[in-house]
């Protein structure tokens, strides 16, 4: 079996993955690198790729500094308490001070942002969220990226980063294959910005069949941000900090606009408010510092998302489920009813499909809520991702090594889900992070840091053989059996994914064990992960589509392995409601008010774990 090799050389900036982070990177790179060669490699079609492919009905990260609404540090404090203290505040401050620039430009480009007719500001859904008609959010920002890039390669599944052989720990490009033609693609580049996606579908979903596609985060978010970076030996942070979402049952439709704008609220099956009764017991686990309902009521400091999940999970376990969203009051107002439906059509059409199928009219009945399976990502209310340098003027020494958003591998930058410790970036913040990374990557090149890159033919040929191995494997063993999917020599990607999801669920705190794990379970799980990795060498692919699924699975496995190591390392329950360490059920600020940092040695596969100090943004005189 031969595959054509397509080599793209002399690239300055290669953007791997063009969702919101990648489009921001490609767009901005042209400004700082007017003569630079900017290339995008995207697994799908840039017009509808990434988590925003089907649109959004809100931009969840907008300061409104221009209108005197918030300053960047206000958002940092909000993200800090929501994540129980564990964030990179230098990166958050940096994102927040730039994000409004992105949002206002989106409006100039034609994105319909709703206005507050009285104030002249954007229409607020909550303190940080503004409402948009965002069905075409992605195609609009894609236009910006396409205008800046020299070339856009759609349908390229990037599998590995290329490493420089002249200087250790320096990136030199990336490789992958075209999922339609099967061609092998080599991108030689001075700097690489990884803006690929976080990980859906690594924990067993609640749905059992077709509905496995109706995951909360897009099914095509295959953890490639982590698979690529970990594979290159970049340090990762906060990978234990998976997120569980309280959402409308089965459709996983968003609840933000319902809570914030429509003023709907939750109650248990018997019509009772249930959250407050769980606070005293929970306060003993996490401390009054993190859960202070009176202070929250007085100052509007939010109760962390994970803790509200904890109350929901606890109430259901106490036998008073299901939890309902009380929509029957708000939906009597025809205007609010219309917003409620538009909200789904703009970003989660599947929820509208489900309510139409089940005759759920929220005007006449209060729909059910549930908690999802966990997800590993870094742009919503959680901050998994790479350990990246911050900006020169904000970051303390431990957080700064020369180039903003550069990982611990030279020339390798991150944006969006790829960057760790920066929750609550959402779409606009991810785009902004891409812009920041692009400016820094141009500077890295202009400073002469990418001179003398060497990539041997052996490296290129070696990766090529590795990439197509699942197809060779299939051909070698297919005819040993008569027909069917059962073969003692190989697994199909779907079979491997089922195994990964089951073991993540049972050993790493998935939904079927109520998000509970401990050191013993994690150690057993890690052993099974090692054996699964051996079996992934025997994965089979019948065609290029399946070859893509094979590599997505390998990326998901790599991300999951990091989740195991980080979860084992942090000996506390920092985010009850996201997951529980049964052997350490409390928040432990004496030992664990730190960020967790890992590195997997690409040669040996060995993990090393360390604690990094947690710096906070405080007033000058504090």
């Amino acid at each position: 079996m031969t595959h054509k090799t397509v080599i793209e050389e002399n690239i300055d900036i290669l953007v791997c993955g063009a969702g919101l982070g990648g489009t921001g990177a490609a767009f901005e790179a042209r400004y700082w690198g007017q003569d630079k060669k900017i290339v995008i490699a995207e697994k799908a079609n840039i017009d509808r790729s990434g988590a925003v492919a089907q649109g959004l009905y809100a931009i969840n990260c907008y300061m409104g500094t221009r209108f005197g609404e918030n300053n960047p540090e206000d958002h940092v404090r909000y993200a800090r308490i929501d994540l129980m203290g564990m964030v990179r505040e230098d990166l958050l401050f940096d994102m927040a001070r730039h994000v409004d620039s992105a949002v206002h430009q989106f409006e100039e480009w034609g994105l319909p942002l709703m206005k507050d007719p009285k104030k002249g500001t954007y229409l607020r859904e909550g303190r940080w969220q503004i409402m948009i008609h965002g069905e075409s959010y992605k195609p609009i920002v894609a236009e910006a990226a396409k205008k800046s890039a020299d070339k856009v390669f759609n349908r390229i599944c990037v599998t590995h980063l290329l490493m420089d052989e002249a200087k250790e720990n320096r990136v030199a490009g990336a490789v992958g294959f075209n999922v339609r033609t099967g061609d092998y693609h080599v991108f030689k580049s001075k700097a690489v910005i990884v803006a690929a996606g976080g990980a859906s579908n690594i924990f067993k979903p609640r749905s059992v069949g077709e509905g496995a596609g109706r995951v909360w985060y897009a099914p095509w978010s295959s953890g490639s941000a982590y698979g690529l970076l970990i594979g290159a030996g970049a340090k990762m942070t906060q990978m234990e900090n998976r997120i569980v979402l309280a959402r409308f049952k089965d459709g996983y439709g968003p609840v933000g606009a319902y809570f914030l704008h429509l003023k709907t609220y939750t109650q248990n099956a018997y019509g009772e408010e249930y959250e407050s009764k769980w606070w005293p017991e929970l306060q003993k686990m996490v401390g009054k510092e993190y859960l202070d309902p009176e202070l929250a009521h007085r100052t509007h400091r939010p109760i962390p998302t994970c803790l509200r999940n904890h109350a929901l999970i606890s109430e259901v376990n106490a036998g008073r489920g299901p939890i309902h969203m009380v929509t029957m009051e708000a939906f009597q107002d025809p205007h609010l009813e219309e917003i409620g439906w538009h909200n789904f059509l703009g970003m989660t059409v599947g929820q509208a499909v489900l309510w139409a199928a089940t005759d759920v009219d929220p005007k006449n009945e209060n729909p059910e809520l549930t908690t999802s399976e966990p997800y590993v990502m870094g742009s919503h209310a959680t901050g998994c991702g790479a350990w990246c340098s911050g900006p020169e003027d904000v970051s303390p020494p431990e957080y700064y090594w020369g180039y903003n958003r550069m990982t611990t591998v030279e020339g390798l930058f991150g944006a969006g889900d790829a960057v760790g410790g920066t929750p609550h970036a959402f779409s606009s913040g991810s785009f902004t992070e891409g812009r920041i990374a692009a400016k820094a990557a141009c500077k890295y090149i202009d400073d002469g840091k990418a001179e003398g890159l060497q990539v041997s033919q052996a490296q290129i040929d070696g990766r090529k053989a590795e990439i197509y191995k699942p197809m060779e494997h299939f051909r070698t063993y297919r005819n040993e059996i008569t027909a069917g999917t059962v073969n003692p020599n190989y697994l199909y990607p779907r079979q491997g994914l089922d195994r990964l999801q089951k073991l993540m669920d049972e050993y790493c705190g998935g939904q079927s064990v109520n998000y509970m794990t401990n050191d013993k379970l994690l150690n057993i799980g890690l052993k099974k992960m090692t054996i699964l990795e051996e079996d992934l060498e025997k994965i089979a692919a019948e065609d290029y589509h399946e070859l893509m699924r094979a590599w997505e699975l390998k990326h998901r496995h790599r991300a999951s392995e990091a989740v195991f190591h980080h979860t084992l390392f942090r000996e506390e329950t920092r985010w009850p409601g996201y997951y529980y360490r049964g052997d350490h059920m409390k928040v432990d600020d004496d030992n664990w008010h730190v960020l967790t940092v890992s590195r997997r040695d690409p040669e040996t596969g060995e993990y090393t774990m360390e604690k990094a100090p947690c710096y906070h943004l405080v007033d000058e005189d504090e």
């Binding site: 230098d90 730039h98 538009h342 906070h616």
Partner: protein
């Protein structure tokens, strides 16, 4: 649902194949029509439904929790800059039509081409500013926020 394709409407133009973010809309080799090859990797994102010039693609809710007999149809028009939806309930009690804008400007015309704008000065390169800043990032259109300007510092330790 996952998506499905009506045999009599599909002309195998391939728009759905081109746009599907999950790479699951393929052309069947026998019928020469598009179909969903992997329904459990379909997000019901409607990208293919919106892209189909023949309106040949529809969605049937996920079999493990959505009963049959519902309909969510869509027509997206870039020229007019609107998207129109129609939602019909299984029991026939509810039939809604909803219309929303998708853009406020002619498609793609107002996105700047950065290769053609004046490049940054060295001073701007050495600053923390991004393209087009400090426009929009401050109330007074002053310089970018810094720790100093906002009276802040970074301090290691336990703060909430």
């Amino acid at each position: 649902m996952p998506t499905f394709v009506y045999m009599t409407r599909c002309d195998a133009c391939g728009h759905c194949v081109d746009i599907c973010p999950s790479d699951i809309m393929h052309i069947d080799k026998v019928t020469r029509r598009a179909y969903n090859i992997e329904p459990n990797m379909c997000w019901e994102c409607f990208s293919c439904v919106k892209a189909c010039p023949q309106h040949a693609i529809d969605v049937r809710g996920y079999a493990d929790f959505a009963p049959l007999g519902h309909s969510v149809r869509v027509k997206r028009d870039e020229e007019k800059g609107v998207i129109a939806w129609r939602i019909k309930f299984r029991n026939g009690q509810k039939d809604m039509e909803l219309l929303a804008p998708i853009t406020t400007k002619p498609w793609g015309k107002h996105v700047p081409k950065l290769a053609e704008v004046q490049g940054p000065t060295q001073e701007m390169r050495d600053s923390q500013l991004l393209y087009n800043e400090p426009k929009y990032i401050r109330m007074d259109d002053g310089d970018i926020h810094t720790l100093k300007s906002n009276g802040l510092k970074m301090k290691a330790g336990v703060y909430y």
